[in-house]
Subunit: 306 residues, 4 copies
């Protein structure tokens, strides 16, 4: 299905369930998709950071996208991440994803080397031209080590290269200024701004963002949908209260003691009965038992588990 | 006057006007105080980063505090910054400020060396014990190069060492989690949380912060007061619209082309007729003429100048 | 040919010449290999950062490795970089490189996500077990955004996982402590330490490093070979004088005005008649004409061009 | 005594011994000075980072400088640090130090705010004009959070503002390029370059640096003097061997488990019988007993204690 203009709402970045043997668990992925869509998610985003895209082989990436498209079955749009260090490789991922029927792509700036803005712009333009699908820029300096600057984003929004932005920079001031600048250029209703900062979603929506891509939304999609619906209806205190509850629940990302949040999300999803196996891709080490106990406690406090 | 519990509202960090000869211009400082209080500021904060505390001699600091206390004349509470690299020096500044009649102190963690959390806590405790005034911690990693961690803040809030926090970290997620944790400990109505991020004030207030310390509030205090009043009354769309206008005005901080925002604030204050001389303390270089022209243009766009 | 124990000497990280159409120029690559081996290089390293590994497709990587192995024709050992964000992908590159006949592999820690030391160690162990070739760890925090810590390196050296280290961290103090610790464990003559800091090669060799992987060695391999031979013979003032000359020549990496050094190296190689076309892989932008003129001037000053 | 041109040799940054009550222990300071001068130190530097300048009151600073000048009694030149966040305050420290008879000053760029190069240059020029003493720039980005750039340093060297540089940046490549550039401008024999990187002193001297300011030189001044004399005589392998021994000894800076190295230096000095009391200035926390035991073990391993 075509991506709405602008893409709005709750767009969880799907975890990629794995079997104990390390294969993509397509059955569990379907279960996760149902968990999210039943809760009201407005789209799904496969192969983001929460999807362990950084750890999967090309085959595993393709399997995950195919299984997502199959499980979603046209109910909502499907975005696919095409995260890689090389423009050439990003193009490969994009072609694969398009052939599997996704509705839009999500790409970062090149990384490993530090691109200049002109190189980043060329990267996105090349990708848009080649792939022929709506393209969302993914600003995640914690992984990519450069920030997409406002001037580049505004130019790529104005010329139609980009359909939107997933902002995981954590820089709320820059996000605010970008939103104001987009509206001043008449792009406020066409260029989709999605926050990846799951702790300040009410703030981003109040500032005019169109939606959220919350890693924690794998675990509690209904919470984020409620938050979004409150905001859309102008019930800001209720949105803030929901965000407060989710901010407390977010402590589960630290249960692993320095481990990546993804292992904690997967432990939570198993405790909730959504997936069978909490394995993460190598070389990530498994969550220790006491971490799983902490996750269980936080799910109970957050009202998700009795 | 005693600091309210919790300190709330708009608390501009006063610029310190200087004469062309480099002395603190007490007459202009009084004019600036009137500019802020007429607009409805709820307190003032002398000798913050916007007050060029980092550039003033001890004598100049004392002159600025005395002139601020005199000009305020009990109309609102007066906070004084006691920013220095050394606990011993911070104690000196604190004693001077107390003897000049301020109502509360604002202090950073030690800097130059990188303190451990236990050392930062000892620093604040020593300062609170010695100075006998309400103490607000100033979290500004861009200047101090360490972030106040939540555990330390919660401990110092719980034992009464700190009366509040001025958060200039720009980390909205951490701020949200701190606010949630303070309320969970019953400290939500006594420990004052003030944001220093002038571009996301609506967000901070929606999250439960009590007020804002906006450098840009030197230039447009009425805008921040309107924003605060809208938020307090639950008029969130109006608060967001006011924030949007201020976000556009914030571009004036970049008019100097890499120079510190303070020179731009002072240029604006002269254009508005509040102060006579836009000089900043050495070794800062003056704003070039074209930068002043840009500031003028932005004031006009923001509706502050015809 | 088997890798010497320890690998020593000058090991240039080969540029990957491209045609104007963007293909790997195998003829120019052979010319570059001859340029380096004629100058006395002790081994070559394909697909490092200077080899634009971050910009090449899998096919291009394979073509570059095959052409390097063919051009070297057993005269010196060939190392191949297997730089990728994913352990799974690194394994793919390693298998391809092994089947093409390389003598050793060079791998970074995983990147994009921030690995913990245990994960990095697991990554290298898995790679060593699977590939069955000598493995050199590549410490390049500017690209990978984590530093290989001494404890992990010492453990992986002691158990035979790693045959050596290419240190591009720029941290001379840490390198010194590592060298001292390796010798204290009896690993000083078996574990190869190669510096990637082309401005302090005399220092690294004096400290006990075994060799150097100098990007600038593409342009002036004879200079680095002289430096190395001086050092090996204990002619330290002559080594330092050669390093000084190379340090002045290094200014050509900045000729591009913020562009990556690789474009400058390629411009120099064309001016020297080693390659035909200075193209770099997209999305990198070409060197402007005035930058090429600067490169020419620096080559002349350095005595490489009349 | 006038500062030699260029200042050369081993210039330990004096620890500032304190009594248990927290006062500057002038008797212990005299003992430390004797410990250093007996070992052959070529000058001393009071109130550097190792001297806890960041923690001392103005009175304590003055006491420390006076006691140092008295203890040295003209045997070697005395440098005094004038480290502060404010140009105005640095000027105050400089006047005090001059009146106490020091032979040269050591100053950082302004900090807390981030100065632009033109502001840093103005800062040093103002200081040189006002103080009338030879001025050494202190490049320590870990504390000051900006790096002195080569262009600024070369300009200030050429116009006589600066007599030298203490480089604690850890950037050996930049240091090499600066040394080459100074010599190219005919400043190699007049502008003093001292490294503060105590683990790579042999390298810095081989590259043409004139001396070293080693914190660890408080503990083992004779080692650094031997290293320097070996280097001056061209005995590079012997210099490297001495550096290796000192690199192993440097582990004592980590004995405190994250604490600042100064506490470890002071513990070592007490174990060596040079000072009576290892107290550091508040809010630093004391070294735990097990850390002192580690320091003792490392002193024994390094041959300084039986």
């Amino acid at each position: 299905m075509p991506l709405p203009t602008p893409l709005s709402g709750v767009v969880p970045p799907l975890c990629t369930p794995l079997t104990a043997a390390g294969d993509v668990d397509t059955r569990a992925l379907a279960s996760l998709v149902d968990h999210l869509l039943t809760a009201g998610a407005h789209a799904v985003f496969a192969l983001g950071t929460s999807g362990e895209a950084a750890f999967l082989s090309d085959d595993q990436r393709r399997t995950a996208v195919r299984a997502t498209v199959d499980a979603v079955a046209g109910r909502v749009p499907v975005l696919a991440g095409v995260i890689d260090m090389t423009t050439a490789r990003v193009l490969d991922h994009a072609r694969a994803a398009r052939s599997l029927g996704v509705d839009g792509l999500v790409a970062t700036a090149p990384f490993y080397t530090r691109p200049r803005p002109a190189e980043t712009a060329a990267h996105f333009r090349r990708l848009r031209d080649d792939a022929g699908l709506p393209l969302i820029a993914y600003d995640i300096p914690s992984a990519v080590h450069s920030k997409l600057d406002a001037a580049t984003l505004l130019a790529l929004a104005a010329d139609g290269t980009l359909a939107g932005l997933k902002d995981s920079s954590g820089d709320g001031g820059a996000l605010r200024r970008l939103l104001v600048a987009l509206r001043a250029r008449g792009l406020g209703d066409t260029f989709s701004v999605l926050t990846g900062s799951e702790l300040t979603v009410d703030a981003a929506l109040l500032a005019g963002a169109h939606g959220v891509v919350p890693g924690l939304g794998n675990v509690d999609p209904a919470g984020y949908v409620r938050l979004y619906e409150h905001a859309r209806a102008g019930r800001w205190p209720e949105a803030a209260a929901e965000q407060d509850r989710l901010a407390a629940l977010f402590a589960l990302t630290e249960a692993g003691g320095g481990a990546s949040p993804v292992g904690c999300f997967k432990a939570a999803l198993r405790l909730l009965g959504v997936i069978d196996c909490p394995a993460t891709a190598p070389p990530q080490v498994p969550l220790p038992d006491e971490a799983v106990a902490s996750v269980r406690g936080l799910l109970a406090e957050g009202g998700l588990l009795r």
